[in-house]
C-alpha cells in the first residue's frame, strides 16, 4: 500500500509517497496561483515520476496553508495541521528527536514531541515576520544575495553587524543604513542570521529545547542561522537526513498510513 502526504506552504509545495515504511519518492515545487493547483501539480509530477496513478494511493493527508481546500477537492482524504505533521515527520525520521524547529516562509514553529511521537506542546511566532523565511528572503534581496549565499557568506564575517531582532521592518532599515555606510555584506549577512536566530531562540525557550533537537523547513538549509541558533541555545541541532523542506509532507504521509489502515 502507498500513502501520500501533500504540504502546501506559502512559498513552496511538497509531496511525499510512502511505501512499505519507506520513502518511495518526494517532490518540491514553487507554489502555483492557489493551493489546489499547487497540490495537483506537485503530487501530479511525483506520481508521473514514479509512474503511478492517483488511484494507487490508499490514503492521502494534506497539510500546510491550503490543507482544507486540498481536502475539499478530493486530493486528500484528511487534513492535519502542519505543526503535527512536522513533529510526526521528524520523529519518524529520527525517533530520538523531541524538539523540532520548523521555519517556513510565513511562520516559525517549535514543536515538542513525546518519546512515543505524540504532539506534546508547540509554539508559533506571532504575526511579525522577523523570525520567518520571508524575512530572510527580504533581507537577502536587500543585500543583493541569493538565499543560499546569505546562509554561507556570513561565515566570512569579521565583525557581525548588530541588528534589531525585534522587528523585521526595523531591521530592514538598519540593513540599508549599514549598506549606505559601506559595511561589509558578509558582516551584515551574519547580523541578519543572528537576528533571525535570536527571534527563533525566543520561541524555543517557550517550549524548552528537549534534546534531540532538529530543524525542518526551508530555513534549515541556511547554515548561518543554524549555527547561530546552536550558539545561542548552547546545543547541537541534528542534521535532518532528508531535505528538511519535505518533513511536513512526510509527516502527512506517515499520518495517512495511520489513518488509512496502514498500521
Amino acid at each position: 500500500m502507498r500513502f501520500g502526504g501533500i504540504d502546501v506552504g506559502s512559498l513552496t509545495a511538497q509531496a511525499v509517497i510512502l511505501e512499505n515504511g519507506s520513502i518511495l519518492g518526494y517532490k518540491s515545487i514553487r507554489v502555483k496561483t492557489n493551493p489546489v493547483a499547487s497540490a495537483e501539480a506537485v503530487m501530479g509530477e511525483l506520481l508521473a515520476e514514479l509512474a503511478l496513478s492517483p488511484g494507487e494511493l490508499t490514503f492521502t493527508v494534506s497539510t500546510g496553508y491550503g490543507r482544507e481546500q486540498v481536502q475539499d477537492t478530493g486530493l486528500s482524504q484528511a487534513n492535519v495541521s502542519e505543526i503535527t505533521c512536522h513533529g510526526v515527520g521528524a520523529h519518524w525520521l529520527m525517533p530520538e528527536v523531541r524538539t523540532v524547529i520548523d521555519i517556513g516562509g510565513q511562520d516559525a514553529k517549535v514543536i515538542r514531541m513525546s518519546p512515543s511521537g505524540e504532539l506534546e506542546d508547540f509554539v508559533m511566532n506571532d504575526k511579525c515576520a522577523a523570525g520567518t523565511g520571508r524575512f530572510l528572503e527580504v533581507m537577502a534581496r536587500t543585500l543583493g544575495l541569493s538565499l543560499e549565499e546569505l546562509g554561507t557568506v556570513s561565515r566570512q564575517a569579521r565583525k557581525r553587524a548588530a541588528l534589531s531582532s525585534r522587528c523585521g521592518i526595523f531591521c530592514e532599515t538598519e540593513v540599508l543604513r549599514f549598506l549606505q555606510r559601506g559595511a561589509d555584506r558578509a558582516d551584515i549577512a551574519a547580523g541578519v542570521n543572528r537576528a533571525m536566530a535570536e527571534r527563533v531562540a525566543a520561541l524555543v525557550r517557550r517550549v524548552g529545547a528537549e534534546p534531540e533537537v532538529t530543524m525542518s523547513g526551508g530555513v534549515a538549509k541556511n547554515p548561518g542561522v543554524k549555527e547561530e541558533l546552536e550558539r545561542i541555545l548552547g546545543l547541537r541541532i541534528r542534521h535532518c537526513p532528508v531535505d528538511p523542506q519535505i518533513v511536513g509532507a512526510l509527516g502527512a504521509a506517515v499520518l495517512a498510513k495511520r489513518m488509512g489502515g496502514g498500521s
Binding site: 492535519v80 505543526i83 511562520d107 508547540f122 504575526k127
Partner: protein
C-alpha cells in the same frame, strides 16, 4: 433571528442606535466592565460599550497612539476620530489599563466630546478603596445629572439595578444553553448576542433575550470534536471565535469581559445605591487589572470550566496587552497543572492576515489534546 443578530453585531451604529437617537435619546460610550451602567440607565441614557469589531484600519489612531499600544484601542480610537462614533453624546473613561487610558485621553484631546467624565476605579478591593469608589460613583452621578439634566434619584438607580439583575439572569440562562451537552448556540453566536446587547438599553436587551431564549430552547449545534472555553482580554471579534469553531472546537463558555465576567457573579449588599454599585462592580471585577486577586480569578475560571465540562482552554490576548500577557503566563501553568490543556493565542487585533495562523494553532491544539 441568530443571523439577524450576527449582522447587527458587526455594525457600530446599529439601526437600534439610530432610532434611539432619532427619538431624542442620548448615547454615552464606555469601554470597561468596571463601569456601573446602572447610572447611565437611570438617567435614561443608552450605555454604549465601545467596540471596533475587528476594524483593521488604525491609521488615524496611530497618529496618537504608537504601534506599541494595543491594536484594539488604536482601532477604537480610529473609529472615534473618523466620525464613526459621532453619534456619541459623551464618553466615560475608566482606568482599565494603560492602553485604554491612552485611547480615551487622545480621543478627548483630538475631538472634544460634549460630555466627558473620568471614573477612577481602584485596583484592589478593600474598605478604603470601596469608600473611594463609592464617592467616585456619587461624583459621576452628580456630573451626569448636571450635564444631561436628569434627576437621577435613588429610586431610578434601584430600578436600573433591578433591570441589570434581570439581564444577568437572562444571560446566565443563555450560557446554560451554551453549556448543554448538545449546545443550543455556538460561541460566535453567543458573542454576537452580547455585542448586540452592549449597544442597547437594558430593558430592550432583556426583551430581545426573552425571545431568543424561547427560540433556542430546542436548538442543537452538533458536529464538533471538542468543547472549549475562551479566556483573555476584551474580545469583540466574533470572526475570531468563528475561526476557532471552524476548526472543530466549540466555545461552550468563557471568562471574557464581553462574556461571563460581566454578569456572572455580580451583587452588592449595601442599601445606599452608590455604595451598592461600588460593591457590585469593584467586588466582582475578574480582571487582571485587580491587584492580589489572582487566586480568585483562577477559581472563577476553574468554576466556569468545570460547569461547562471543557476539554481545553484557549487563552487569547492582543499583542502588547500587559495585563493579560503576564496573567497568561501564570494561568497557563496553573491550569495545565490541574489537567486542563491550554492554548495561549497571542494575536494581533482585527488582522485578517492573522487568521491562518490562528486556525493552524487551534487545529494543532485540538490534535494535541487528541480531539
Amino acid at each position: 433571528m441568530m443571523i439577524d443578530l450576527q449582522t447587527r453585531a458587526s455594525q457600530i451604529e446599529t439601526e437600534y442606535v439610530r432610532k434611539f437617537k432619532e427619538e431624542g435619546g442620548k448615547v454615552v460610550g464606555y469601554a470597561c466592565v468596571a463601569t456601573p451602567v446602572e447610572i447611565l440607565e437611570a438617567a435614561g441614557i443608552l450605555p454604549y460599550r465601545i467596540k471596533a469589531f475587528g476594524h483593521p484600519d488604525t491609521s488615524l489612531g496611530d497618529s496618537y497612539l504608537s504601534r506599541f499600544n494595543c491594536r484594539f484601542c488604536r482601532s477604537c480610537l480610529s473609529l472615534g476620530l473618523d466620525g464613526t462614533y459621532d453619534f456619541l453624546d459623551g464618553l466615560v473613561e475608566t482606568n482599565g489599563c494603560d492602553h485604554l487610558r491612552g485611547m480615551f485621553e487622545n480621543w478627548q484631546y483630538a475631538k472634544k466630546l460634549p460630555y466627558f467624565h473620568y471614573l477612577k476605579v481602584p485596583h484592589f478591593f478593600r474598605e478604603d478603596a470601596l469608600e473611594y469608589f463609592t464617592e467616585e460613583i456619587s461624583l459621576w452621578r452628580e456630573s451626569l445629572s448636571r450635564h444631561f439634566g436628569a434627576p437621577l434619584e435613588d429610586a431610578a438607580i434601584w430600578r436600573a439595578v433591578d433591570e441589570q439583575e434581570a439581564l444577568q439572569a437572562r444571560l446566565r440562562e443563555l450560557y446554560a444553553l451554551r453549556m448543554r451537552k448538545v449546545p443550543a448556540l455556538s460561541g460566535a453566536e453567543a458573542l454576537s448576542v452580547i455585542c448586540t446587547g452592549s449597544s442597547m438599553r437594558t430593558a430592550d436587551f432583556v426583551s430581545l433575550l426573552d425571545g431568543l431564549l424561547g427560540d433556542l430552547s430546542e436548538r442543537k449545534v452538533e458536529g464538533f470534536r471538542a468543547r472549549l472555553m475562551l479566556l483573555g482580554s476584551a474580545t469583540d471579534e466574533v470572526d475570531l471565535v468563528a475561526d476557532i469553531e471552524q476548526q472543530g472546537g466549540l466555545v461552550v463558555t468563557d471568562a471574557l469581559c464581553y462574556g461571563s465576567r460581566s454578569f456572572w457573579e455580580r451583587k452588592g449588599e449595601s442599601r445606599d445605591p452608590d455604595r451598592f454599585l461600588a460593591e457590585k462592580y469593584l467586588g466582582n471585577l475578574f480582571c487582571p487589572r485587580m491587584f492580589t486577586e489572582y487566586e480568585r480569578r483562577l477559581q472563577f475560571i476553574l468554576d466556569r470550566a468545570e460547569e461547562a465540562g471543557v476539554d481545553g482552554i484557549v487563552l487569547v490576548y492582543n499583542k502588547f496587552c500587559d495585563l493579560h500577557g503576564v496573567e497568561a503566563a501564570a494561568l497557563r501553568v496553573d491550569l495545565e497543572k490541574r489537567g486542563i490543556p491550554v492554548l495561549v493565542l497571542e494575536k494581533d487585533y482585527g488582522s485578517q492576515s492573522d487568521t491562518g495562523r490562528v486556525k493552524t494553532r487551534v487545529q494543532a491544539f485540538l490534535e494535541r489534546i487528541g480531539k
